[in-house]
């Protein structure tokens, strides 16, 4: 116990939380809500709200509408082409080969339009997931210095490796299993619609949902593990602080009691700073993920509606292609949400576990 107390004193004196440490996180850029990470930290220290709920709703609406407008022109081209196809193909299917040839040329153009939209969104998704994992990996060391200032070194040492391993596991899982499965299912759905007799749409759907199940299962297991180890660690904190106080008041001859009180104050202040940094991190992750997800959701909405509308007059194969596109995009959204939820859960568990649970 004495050794732990001495260690704690040394750490306390030698590692202050430097203000430029979390300015480094500004390299993660401004979220579309309009604040960088240090803005969030500063606003919480000052006490005013950086994000007002009333301002957020109009912004969300604006982003969704602009995304819908951008994609609407592409979808209207698809509409016009399938309408023309329906006009020019007569109902007496004696000319099977030629009708198929006309359909193929229209289908290729539609495939080109859809593939370019899908490529943009999948690149956005991959970069978002990588950014979130990177952000988490950079916030945790900074949190570590703050936690050390409040005697939580034991908690941090036991919890953070798990968090780091599991979050990078999540990111790698999505990159190595999730994204290739999504690409494969997308390509399969495009190719399978070439022949009018059989389609690979169901196979594509199965691959997509399997990938989503695997990723969400991994995230659930990870959250459970982290929460349980967080709960079992919180008692270390209070014990360490109490023992440090008694050690100090016993060791130091004259100023022992003074130092005891100042240790309490420093530890309390450090807890406040750690909470601020942690919650700023959670806020940042949430808002940097929210707006891209809304964009992708509006694209999914457009494609679902157009697939339903084209289904009334057009070829069934075009309907199934648009349907699969919407399904694939929602799988990508599922990955993004799973990754960000796992990061938020791990941050909050870390914050909760390293609070002083009643030592003061």
């Amino acid at each position: 116990m004495k050794k732990a107390a001495v260690l704690f004193l040394i750490i306390l004196i030698t590692t202050p939380v430097r203000a430029d440490d979390y300015n480094k996180l500004d390299s993660f850029g401004i979220t579309e809500a309009g604040f960088t990470f240090s803005d969030a930290v500063n606003s919480m220290t000052d006490g005013h709200q950086i994000v007002k709920a009333n301002e957020m709703w109009p912004k969300i609406y604006e982003i969704a509408v602009s995304e819908i407008n951008t994609n609407l022109s592409a979808v209207s081209v698809i509409f016009a082409l399938s309408f023309l196809l329906a006009v020019f193909s007569t109902s007496r299917h004696r000319f099977k080969g030629g009708e198929n040839a006309a359909f193929l040329s229209v289908y290729m153009i539609i495939t080109g339009i859809i593939t370019s939209a899908f490529g943009e969104i999948s690149k956005l998704g991959i970069s978002l997931i990588q950014n979130t994992v990177l952000f988490l990996n950079s916030v945790i060391p900074i949190l570590g210095t703050a936690i050390a200032g409040s005697a939580g070194a034991g908690v941090f040492a036991s919890l953070s490796p798990q968090i780091l391993i599991f979050s990078s596991l999540c990111g790698n899982l999505i990159k190595s299993i999730g994204m290739p499965a999504v690409y494969f299912s997308f390509g399969l759905s495009l190719i399978g619609n070439l022949s009018p007799h059989y389609s690979t749409a169901s196979l594509a759907k199965v691959i997509r949902s399997t990938a989503l199940w695997i990723v969400s299962g991994a995230v659930t297991i990870f959250s459970a593990v982290v929460s349980v180890s967080g709960m079992s660690c919180s008692s270390l904190n209070a014990a360490a602080l109490k023992s440090a106080k008694f050690a100090v008041s016993g060791l130091v001859p004259v100023l022992g009691s003074l130092m005891t009180d100042s240790i309490e104050a420093v530890a309390g202040g450090a807890v406040v700073i750690k909470n601020i940094i942690g919650s700023a991190g959670i806020l940042f992750i949430f808002f940097s993920v929210l707006f891209p997800v809304i964009k992708i959701a509006s694209v999914i909405f457009i494609y679902k509606i157009s697939s339903a509308l084209i289904g009334t007059f057009g070829d069934k194969r075009i309907t199934s292609v648009l349907d699969n596109m919407a399904g694939v995009l929602s799988a990508i959204t599922g990955f993004i949400i799973a990754c960000s939820v796992s990061c938020i859960i791990s941050l909050s568990v870390l914050l909760g576990a390293s609070n002083l649970g009643g030592a003061l």
Binding site: F88, T90, F95, V106, M108, I109, G112, T115
Partner: protein
Amino acid sequence: MDIFKIVVFALPSCLLCILLRQYRPDYSFAVSIVSGIIILLYALPALSNVFKSIDSFVRKANVNTVYIKTAVKIMGLSYITQFSSEMCRDAGENALASCIEVCGKIIMLALSLPIAEALFKLTEGIIP
């Protein structure tokens, strides 16, 4: 109601075809060709407005207009091939009809090759 005009025109010409078939079947074939062409000529100019508006969509959507024009060409080609092959079948020439069909398919495939090439180039760029 232009469809009434078309129906009122088409039914008597059918009647004439049947009438002439007993005496001179070649003239009945001529009547059916010409009446089919006149009906098409009546409806086609309305299509040019549709194509103009599709052009404006395509320009807004940043898709290369060449592809859309080629697709429209292919669709028109498929319809002409179908029309003429059915005419030949009506006249009893099934072999000639299938020759027209094969020729039409070949031309349509040849026309759609540039679109296929552009699609492959696009797909190469997507896969990381």
